[in-house]
Every structure is written in C-alpha cells, then in structure tokens.
Amino acid sequence: MLRIEDLWVSYGHVQALSGVSLEVKRGSIVSIIGSNGAGKSTLLNTISGLVKQERGKIFLWDGTGPDTAKLLPREPYRVVKLGVVQVPEGRQVFAGLTVRENLMAGAYTVNDAGRVRRNLDRMFEMYPILKERARQQAGTLSGGEQQMLAICRGLMAEPKVLLLDEPSLGLAPIIVKGVFDTVRRIRDEGITVVLVEQNANQALAIADYAYVLENGRVVLEGAGRSLLCDPAVKDAYLGGAQEA
C-alpha cells in the first residue's frame, strides 16, 4: 500500500531520517518502534506531507496492478484526500471546539452526510465517554479522553491507510488493550495501519510486520512476533523484561 524509498529528512542541522526505506502491505499492521528521537514521528509526518523530505520517494499503491503506484502529493490535505490519514502525536485536538465538532472536522473530506452520521454513532459506541462529553470543549477533556477523541477523529475520515503516532499514550491499561483491539479490528476491515508505539510489546504483538528505527535508520525489521522474541530488541526496547 505504501512504499518508501531512501527517505532523508533533516531539521536544519539535525538529520532526523537517513535513508529509510520500508514497505507497508495492504491490509496489514506495520509497527515502528525505536527510542526517543529515533525519527518515528518524523517518518509519519513526512508521509503526511507535514515535513518535507530532502531526498527519497513515497509511493501509494493500492495493489490493483504493478504500475498503479503513484507518488504521494506533498500537501498534507491532498494526502488525506487519497485516504492516508494521520493521528498525530500528543493528540492535538482542537481545544476550543466541542468533542462533536472535533469529530465532524475529522469527517471533512467525507461528503455523504448519512455516512458521517453512521460513523459518528460508531465512534460513540466504541468510546461511550465521548458521547457523554459530546458538547464539552475538547481542551478540557482528560488526557486519555483527548487521545480517544484524536483516534476517532482520524477514523471519521474513513482512511485507507491510518498512521497512528503513539495512540496508547496516556491511556489506562484497560483502554490501551481496547485501542490495540480496535487497531486489529480496523485492519480486519481492510484498512492498512502504520503504528508508531512506545508500548513496544503490544505493538509488536499485533504487528504483521515491524521495523526498528534508530538514529534515523532502520536497524532491524521482521515479522512482529519474531522481533518480539529477538533478544536484541528485548534488551533495548522491551526493558529486558515484561511490562505489566
């Protein structure tokens, strides 16, 4: 679905990505893990077009034929129109808009009012707390509620590819499980998911494929489960032992 070739990105003198290549298969979950500052968010931001690369190409390929791969545009709003939607790090909800308005903003590109309403109901069903808070200003939600809202807002756009940047940040363990279940479920609905996570255990556990990013480079890749059991990964990212 997504193919990234030799991506280089820098912020002035900081080289954030140095030649990252990766591939995301249609309908799969690809997890990206790595320590702070490895460049994970930068990678997602480059895909969305928020950050411009110095070098390298990003292709969107819907898998219908070998030659239908096309370059992803560089304006973020065009990227979204092609179905590649990012849920940004740190929630970034529209603080002064209500919960409901935030969700409607997510559905900006969907032109069918009926579908929007159905999607909205689905979101409220998934996280009933959001329904309770529908008229509250998003900025006053608790951290976790904001995170749920951010995820739902992304889903309202009916993405083909969903880029999730640390979706479990600040969520209660029980909700975290819910989020990973959701991720799995939307994958099963045919949506492709790129998942950036610090919660490496779980991220690897549900991933079809995974990459480890370090200092802007891919240092390891493989099937999720296999990385999970890789001693090097365990040592560096999983804290040696299991997290509760």
């Binding site: 928020l50 973020p76 129109k81 529209f94 002064g96 808009l97 900006y108 900025g139």
Partner: protein, 297 residues
Amino acid sequence: MLVQNILNGISLGSVYALIAVGFALIFNVLKFSNFSQGGVMTVTAYAGYVASRYLSEHLDSSLVLFSAVLAAAALSGALIAAAVERLAFRRLRRTKSEPVYYFISSITMGILLENLITIYASSNFYSYPRFFTTSAVPLFGVNVAVTDMMMFALSITALLALLFILYRTKIGLGIRAACFDVNTVQLMGMNPDFLVTMALMISGTLGGVSGVFLGMNYTLYPQLGQMVVKGFVASVLGGLGSIHGAVIGAVLLGVLEIFFISWVGAGWAPVFIFVVMLAFLLVRPRGIAGVIVQEKA
C-alpha cells in the same frame, strides 16, 4: 431626549456593529486584531463610489443603483481581503508566526491601503450620490436616519449569516478549527490556505458593505477606515470568542458614547468611557457574551 439619545446611540452602534462583525470574525477565528480591515473598508468605499459614478449613467432606479453599488463594494472587498491574505498573512502562517506578527502585518497593510488611496484619490473627500430621497423618518416621536436603520438591519443580517456559515457549514467548521492548529487541520484534509482566505473574504465582503455605508454617512476620505478602532473596542468588549457579543458590544458602545456626549459632553466622554470599560471588565472579565473556559493544565 432620552428616546432620541437611545435611538441615536443604537444608530451609531449599528455603524460600529457592521465594522465589529467583520473585525470580530477575524479576531475570533484567527486570534488577531485585523486592522487591515480599516484599509479594506476605505478601498471598498472608494470602489463603491467609482461604481456609483459609472453606473449612475446606466441605471435610473436609485434602489437598483444602490444594490449594484453595494454588490460592487462587497465584491471588491472580498477580492482585496483575499489579496491581503496572500500578501500579508500567508507567509506568516507558513512560518507559524505568533499572532503579533499578524497584527503588525495587518496594521501596516491598513496604513498602506490608506496611503495608496490618498495617492490615487488625493486626501480630498467625496460624497456619494443620494440614493434615498427621504433622509430621516419619524419613529417613536423622534427622527431616525434611513441609512442608520438600514445599517442596523444589515448588521443583524450579517450577524445571522455569519453565525450560520461558521456554525452550520463545513467550511465554517474548518475555519474555526484552522485557528487552533494549522498543521492538524491539514491532517483532516483541509486546506488551511483556502479556509483562511475564505474567512478573510467573508470579512472583506462585510468590510465592503460597511465601507459603502460609512461613505454614505460620513463622506469619503482616506482615513475613513480608522473607524475600525471602534470595531476593535466593540468586539473585545463583546467577549472574545463571540460574534454576537461583538454586535451587542457595538450597540452598547454607541449608546454609551451618545449618552456621555449628552451628559458630560464629547470632551469628557472618552474619560468616562474608559472608566466604565475598566469597571465593566473587572466585574465581567469575559466580556459581554464570552464564555469562561477554565484553562486546563
């Protein structure tokens, strides 16, 4: 006298209101005081004047002429505002500048427009042709100017239209979202350039309409747009984050001014208004229609 004063106050207030609504739109949505609105109003007032000179040869019904002039001014307002966005704000948004830069850019733009008009039309002033034969009608036993009533009706209409656009349409939602975070808004598939241009064009349209009314009431001169300061005061008093507050604020400001002029004279009025304003803000720090949202840490 009291009724007359109140009606005069409301008339004056509706002049302010029409300015304040356009001003408040940008203030509330993009979070800066768009002083270029003054320049836009001036230019549109002149554009309307030029249109009236040109069209009066072709149109004989003054009502038709008037509507055509209004439309021409509104259109030119939208276009100029779009140009202002392009020239003075777009790059700032790209570089994610703080609101004060918008303020500076807009105020400079306002001065520039004012000066361009001075160069184009000299600081001489002009009068619009008379569109209506009766200039005042009796109401509650006192005289009320026709233009004042139209202006009042128009500010209310503008307010309703704006509220509808902002709160009932997708573009409105986009405009409101865009002011919180330009980046994130793009992640929803919105094109912030488009949204902000739309917002400015709406306020430019309003600026065009106010320009014509200001020109009709107060004659045309390059500093006409400096009335925008009243719009600024009204929209802040009205409560940050509220457009209907701006209208109420404007009418209140107009009534207060007239009241003080009649009570203590125009000389002392600014002093009294300052004191009242301060007292008001201390008693009601959120403005007239603002809502308090406690900042969450």
